[in-house]
Symmetry: C2
Subunit: 213 residues, 2 copies
């Protein structure tokens, strides 16, 4: 396996989690090995895309055998980094922050929530997914002590910039960004995964009005 | 403008909402026209990408002038279909359904929520974003009367399949899918925009463990 994956296109990376999910299903169904053709049929994609994508990391399939489901799943977990532990803080305990904390299996994805923060005094001390919501004033002290790796930004665009400044100064440079603030337009050397729900809705609106053939 | 946009790559479509957001900002700032170079600098993308993307729909820029901010914004709104009205029902009044109803400006995106449904009896009648949560048993009658265009699926994977079957039979074929159920693997002739939050987190985990140069 190539360890330097900087040259792997982002589109390929984005497909890895889906391969991982499907391999988990195959494993649950008791499937031990699978050809790229069967794999592709289950996912409604093409066998050549699966082969090409996995070849970015060294292949893993064997001619005439296909893929070993359990091994390939473990390899993908390792490539993504699910086997490591990434500490996550959630900034903003509103609907979206709460939805993430309550609905996403962070642990299954190599992540652990270590803190939830909000600026609203009436939320302080309330418990979300087992975590007491803390004041954002505690952020510096918390980050210095705990060095969280990832911040999930669940706050409005207006407050996102100053929160990012604070967090980056504290060494938090990985962002799961639910705000409309474009972090990587304003800051360098950050890793950002944007979830722009509004943009996603607009993409659907486009598809609705111009259905694919 | 080409009216048949079926040949426009999905990656281009996905960038349109961001152009639209930025043009809204430029307009707010009082910018009347902008060159593709300035546009690109503000978005940290390349001028040639902006030009190429917009050329898919006919261009809109003028040599030596650049883009008229208001006109281009209106054109993009029309291309996406924001000027039309798409009725949306939300299936699932848990954290995610609630986060969408409360946090997303549907109206600004050419959409109106017309109903929120859940199977949990204790949620029936509670009010979210001005809408009384209805029983999922009402779905057939509601869809026949109101013909909603889009369903936002905010339910677990286990129940997604049967809900999709029901909705598709009722003529609802456009899905904003927050479940892990792959609708377009199982059904034909549907428009699906997936928001796989778990996959998005995994993509970030990958980036964290293998930072880009």
């Amino acid at each position: 396996m190539k360890l330097n994956n900087n040259d792997v296109p982002l589109n390929v990376i984005r497909r890895l989690p889906r391969y991982y999910r499907y391999l988990g299903r195959f494993a649950q169904e008791g499937v031990l090995r699978i050809s790229s053709e069967e794999f592709a049929e289950r996912m409604r994609t093409s066998a050549s895309q699966i082969r090409q994508d996995l070849n970015c990391f060294g292949g893993f399939g064997r001619q005439g055998y296909g893929y070993n489901v359990r091994d390939l799943r473990e390899e993908i977990a390792r490539i993504i980094g699910i086997d490591e532990t990434n500490t996550v803080i959630i900034i903003g305990a509103g609907n979206i922050g709460r939805a993430l904390a309550d609905n996403i299996s962070f642990e299954k994805r190599g992540c652990t929530i270590t803190g939830i923060f909000d600026r609203k005094t009436d939320l302080w001390g309330t418990v979300i997914a087992g975590h007491k919501v803390r004041s954002d004033v505690e952020l510096p002290q918390f980050c210095e002590a705990q060095c969280p790796k990832i911040a999930a930004l669940c706050i409005p665009e207006e407050s996102a910039r100053s929160v990012c400044e604070t967090l980056i100064a504290l060494g938090v440079t990985n962002f799961w960004n639910f705000s409309h603030f474009d972090i990587n337009v304003h800051f360098d050397n950050v890793n950002v995964e944007n979830v722009h729900l509004g943009d996603s809705l607009l993409t659907l609106v486009y598809k609705v009005n111009r259905p694919q053939e």
